[in-house]
């Protein structure tokens, strides 16, 4: 193409306008077409996390149609979604032996973005039955490790109480939690995210405690 036209103002303006319109159309179209599928993936994931915090739905990562599997398991175990204090959600999970676990959703702030998770409690409302965590954009290999089992598994069996007082579960320096019923090991190199998990648990669970104890 002639260089004089190509570098002229009119051509530059038209080119910029055209590319913006084309790109906007492509992006809007992809977003619209794919939205229903994306939303159902997100819903399945939320439900899967609720189930996983109570140690259920272990087959979800190997099963072929995950959406259907999770839907079925969720309806089987989570029969009751009570409204907690101040209208906060609380999930009641009834296991096969009839025992009930109470699942509290958690929301907090990590290093780069939001973090969240679910904490399942035994029906003494003191002992942690299980926990899962996830994050939007923590550093891969460091803070992002909170979503992996080596971090969340040690929460099982920890106590939120010490000598009758609510102390929550602390996330301490890696290797220092051995034998402490109120602490788990943090992630080396992911200190800020580890602390954020600790804060998140304390701040979210404390709202539920008077409510649960009263029930």
């Amino acid at each position: 193409m002639d260089n004089k036209i190509r570098n002229g103002n009119l051509y530059t303006f038209l080119y910029a306008a055209a590319i913006v319109i084309v790109v906007a159309a492509i992006l809007a179209l992809t977003a619209q077409v794919l939205r229903p599928r994306q939303e159902s993936n997100v819903r399945t994931e939320t439900r899967l996390y609720i189930l996983r915090s109570a140690g259920l739905a272990g087959g979800a990562y190997t099963v072929k149609d995950r959406n259907a599997y999770v839907e079925k398991e969720y309806n089987r175990y989570i029969k009751d979604t009570a409204v907690g204090p101040d209208g906060l959600p609380l999930f009641v999970c009834t296991l096969e032996d009839g025992s009930k676990k109470y699942i509290i959703p958690l929301h907090g702030t990590g290093l780069w973005g939001p973090i969240w998770g679910y904490l399942a409690l035994d029906n003494d409302f003191e002992t942690v039955y299980g926990a899962v965590f996830d994050h939007k954009s923590e550093t891969p290999g460091l803070g992002a490790e909170i979503s992996k089992e080596p971090f969340s598994e040690p929460f099982r069996g920890k106590s939120l109480y010490k000598e009758g007082e609510f102390v929550s579960v602390s996330v301490v320096k890696g290797g220092k939690a051995a034998g402490n019923p109120n602490a788990v090991d943090g992630i080396s190199g992911g200190t800020i995210t580890s602390r954020a998990v600790e804060t998140m648990i304390r701040e979210c669970v404390i709202k539920y405690i008077p409510f649960l104890k009263h029930e």
Binding site: N7, T30, R37, E45, T139, P140, S188, G189
Partner: protein, 204 residues
């Protein structure tokens, strides 16, 4: 010709060790091998296809806004791929979500478009992009191999150093905490550059 375009960026003109591009993401994603592999694959695809697309348009893009046009093409490509993954491969997309920003701003992509794709035909531009992505990925994998092995005692999440070796369990071994921290990535990249250059001297 195409073979040289493809192979040069792996060793002779490696984007990280020779051109020193893309160092920033080498810091962020090399603590573990798994994110390093995801990142390497994504960048390879994006450098390849953005090179191809920009090369197709190379004779129409107005000079004064060419950088903006490149950025739009790269960003659109990454976002569309991310959207498709979100719908059809949700797990992969969750892994990738953190990297989307890092992929778009990776200097290798813009660098190769500016230096190569805008002046060459589509097929060589595509090969050049893939080659550079692989050259970059190779360094990422080497760095993450050492950082994960020495920093966490695992590779791709599998335990390599036996638990019984650790001091905590009565053994003699301790993970090197420095390996997990960002400075170690730069030190390892530095060592790789050194080895590459020393190799070039010897082969003369």
């Amino acid at each position: 010709m195409n073979k040289r375009i493809f192979l040069d960026p792996l060793f002779k003109n490696n984007p990280v060790s020779v051109l020193v591009l893309g160092i920033c993401s080498a810091l962020a994603v090399t603590v573990k091998m798994e994110p390093a592999l995801v990142m390497a694959l994504s960048v390879t695809l994006v450098t390849g296809f953005s090179g191809l697309i920009m090369s197709l348009f190379r004779n129409t893009v107005p000079n004064r806004i060419r950088i903006i046009v490149q950025l739009i093409v790269v960003a659109t490509l990454v976002i569309v791929v991310d959207q498709i993954l979100k719908a059809f491969a949700y797990d992969v997309s969750k892994q990738l979500s953190v990297f989307v920003g890092l992929i778009i701003t990776n200097c290798i992509i813009m660098g190769r478009i500016e230096a190569f794709a805008l002046g060459n035909k589509p097929i060589p531009a595509f090969m050049d992009g893939i080659g550079n992505g692989l050259g970059y990925g190779m360094i990422l994998v080497i760095v993450s191999f050492f950082r994960e092995l020495l920093g966490s005692g695992t590779l791709l999440g599998y335990r390599i150093v036996p638990q019984s070796w650790y001091m905590g369990n009565g053994g003699f071994y301790e993970n090197n905490g420095l390996m997990i921290l960002p400075p170690m990535a730069l030190i390892i990249v530095g060592l790789i550059i050194w080895i590459f250059n020393a190799g070039k001297e010897w082969s003369k």
